[in-house]
């Protein structure tokens, strides 16, 4: 093989490698250029329980991802879980009295935070604290209540059942949110 053909093959090989890397970056990992350029604002919310939620879990509104959880910690004064989240600047329309709920993707899927719309004129901005929250649904707790039958069981179970029912309805009505 002469020199030129050899060099061309090597060039093609290196090109194929670079192309493959680019493919991994954009097609497989879904990296988009300039994603980090757009600003974000931070919002805090307090939950009774964040069972299953992780740092980097997504924040969604109407099924569209608008941000991610940046930290989860305990607030020692309130005895609640303090969740800090980063929301994209483009999502600057959320009313200040919106509710943050912890949802589950699919019945066994991962937890994420969803917003249900409030009616306030003011919108959430950097440093806002969300007042209305709903904790994650812990199946074990529910089952426990059924099995053990606590004292004021009637009301409690009815309330929990209502929550479960709502959640299930939403799950059923909503398209699988993992599908982009």
């Amino acid at each position: 093989m002469n020199n030129r053909a050899l060099e061309i093959t090597v060039g093609l090989f290196v090109l194929a490698g670079i192309l493959a890397f680019a493919l991994l970056a954009f097609k497989v990992s879904g990296l988009t250029l300039g994603q980090n350029n757009s600003g974000t604002y931070k919002v805090t919310a307090y939950f009774d329980s964040v069972e299953g939620l992780k740092v980097r879990s997504r924040i969604s509104f109407a099924g569209v991802t608008i941000g991610k959880v940046t930290s989860i910690a305990i607030d020692p004064e309130k005895y609640q879980a303090k969740v800090t989240m980063e929301i994209s600047d483009t999502a600057n329309y959320l009313p200040a009295d919106s509710t943050a709920l912890i949802y589950t993707a699919g019945l066994l899927g991962e937890k994420y935070i969803g917003f249900s719309l409030g009616g306030d004129e003011e919108v959430l901005k950097n440093g806002s604290v969300i007042k209305d929250t709903q904790s994650s649904l812990v199946l074990e707790d529910l089952i426990n209540k059924f099995v053990m039958g606590s004292d004021d069981s009637g009301k409690d179970i009815a309330k929990q059942l209502g929550t479960l029912n709502d959640t299930l309805k939403e799950l059923i009505n909503k398209k699988p949110s993992v599908v982009n």
């Binding site: 090989f13 194929a16 490698g17 670079i18 493959a20 970056a25 497989v28 990992s29 599908v179 982009n180």
Partner: protein, 268 residues
């Protein structure tokens, strides 16, 4: 009949000590060899042609085996993943199973093993042959440093080729997985790629896999070239060195893979 000498405890301990010293000495030898061949190269442009030629032999000629293995491994992953996931009614997740296992583990590791087997053994045998036919000492006689002229281009070619090969392996594997899962088994196209994109992170999975490929390239090529350069200059010596290249190379890759995985993905 010759009376057999009794081997005492002290003799055994001495033997152990000697083998330990030998091992450490050869490790140091290999390190000095690596430094000498890579550092102090004068004018990389001078040997650029040699490097291109070696990339052709080490990289381009390894492409067929890498691509075919990648294709089949991706297809197997998709088939196995689908069969297991379907019982949890989450067959859409097959995309992320294929992509993550290829990116994080199978891509770099299998490429490394194949590379040690195909390119590594060829390098060892070639350099060993040069040594046996006294070409290396011939080069020294005419004032050319064999480390710079023979070894350095081969080392660099390995470092450059293997990460590229491993990246190509992953891409072909994911494509093979898509072929099986989407075209044959009927997983929805959008969920295959969408699930993959939402679970694969560029800075974490893709880059860490690439770093693994670099490390394995470094180790596999280094072992291959050193074994060739330090082998006994006989046909038996060359065959021994070639075997050692494959065995040591594969073991080093698997061992390092565990350490790298523990460092990179150990705590999530």
């Amino acid at each position: 009949m010759q009376a057999q000498k009794k081997v005492g405890v002290l003799d055994r301990i001495q033997l152990l000590g000697r083998s330990a010293i030998d091992t450490i000495a050869s490790l140091g030898d290999a390190a000095i060899f690596l430094v000498l061949s890579l550092i102090g190269r004068r004018g990389p442009g001078k040997h650029f042609r040699l490097l291109i030629k070696q990339i052709y032999f080490v990289g381009v000629l390894s492409l067929p085996i890498i691509m075919v293995s990648g294709l089949f491994i991706g297809m197997i992953m998709a088939l196995q993943g689908y069969n297991i996931l379907i019982s949890y009614a989450s067959s859409e997740a097959v995309g992320q199973v294929v992509a993550l296992s290829l990116l994080r583990e199978l891509g770099p590791v299998v490429t490394g093993l194949l590379f040690a087997g195909r390119a590594g053994s060829a390098l060892t045998a070639e350099i060993g042959n040069m040594k046996a036919s006294e070409q290396l000492s011939g080069l020294e006689t005419i004032g050319v440093d064999p480390l710079k002229y023979v070894i350095a281009p081969r080392l660099l070619a390995g470092f450059i080729s293997m990460p590229l090969l491993s990246t190509i392996f992953v891409v072909v594997g994911i494509w093979g997985g898509a072929m099986v899962a989407v075209d044959w088994l009927g997983v929805f196209d959008g969920s295959y790629w969408g699930n993959m994109q939402s679970s694969v992170r560029f800075g974490y999975d893709v880059l860490n896999g690439f770093i693994k490929g670099l490390v394995f390239a470094f180790v596999a090529t280094w072992i291959a070239v050193y074994q060739g350069y330090s082998c006994e200059a006989t046909s038996v010596g060359i065959s021994k060195a070639t075997t050692k290249t494959v065995v040591y190379g594969s073991l080093a890759i698997l061992g390092l893979d565990f350490i790298l995985t523990a460092l990179m993905f150990g705590e999530i």
